[in-house]
Subunit: 151 residues, 2 copies
């Protein structure tokens, strides 16, 4: 899929996937986000970061997560009614670094229509946040609310 | 615990818990974060939000997550070497709303020293993000890296 479509529960099938557009993360953005939400030396101070677990400036995992959301919302098919996650499993196998160019690959893992509410259902989506070299920066397997196409 | 301490793996035991300081989230902050990272009407436009699933302005779940991290990093005991999460289960049972005053309660669920690397270990922490009325806005059960006290 390259065009922006409006997705309903009726449209998705297991195995379906799409890739988002890309975004490049800069050191300044990493530091700004870090100062606001995750003020630790490895996210806010390149010099001090060298002596930490990360060995250099790294983005807060929540920054990677927030950028992933932006790519989902703006860079792929639009889910009718909004992209609404209820819960999920989140992993950061590697740290996001200054200059990383990220995109998101979404794969539909399951589709479960609601028994009690016929206008909606849940999908499990595997959301991979990847660099251009294919390194996995974040894996989010999320339970997402989808609505059915209005009759 | 009310004072800021430096925590090592040696210091934590199952069942130990602490509460962070508090932060109040405003409509302006919700909209600003939404425009930057999660541009959907229910996060960016109070009028348009009324007709959505949320029935009014709601914070992006990633905004709740980022504020939770800020409270963890600045409002409770400091973990030696940094607060570094590797993976976890994330749930948003209710939406964060303008005016919510949030704090974080952390409970240690397990402590596992590394077999291969004697200087560190993993803890499972239950991180609850709560309003002053005790409503649960986010639950994050996270695998966290902790270092041992240097000998």
């Amino acid at each position: 899929m390259t065009e922006r479509e409006l997705l309903y529960l009726d449209d998705v099938v297991v195995g379906m996937s799409f890739e988002s557009s890309e975004v490049t993360i800069t050191a300044d953005e990493i530091i700004e986000f870090g100062k606001q939400f995750d003020p630790q030396p490895f996210h806010t101070d390149p010099a001090a970061a060298a002596d930490t677990f990360f060995g250099g400036l790294a983005a807060s995992g929540w920054h990677t997560a927030a950028l992933t959301m932006r790519l989902l919302v703006t860079g792929g098919p639009a889910i009718a009614g909004g992209t609404i996650g209820a819960s999920g499993d989140l992993k950061w196998p590697t740290a996001t670094r200054p200059g990383d160019r990220l995109h998101v690959r979404v794969t539909v893992e399951s589709v479960t229509p609601s028994r009690s509410r016929p206008d909606r259902g849940m999908c499990v989506l595997k959301v991979e946040t990847l660099t251009t070299d294919g390194e996995l920066r974040q894996l989010f397997v999320v339970n997402t609310l989808l609505f059915r196409k209005p009759q």
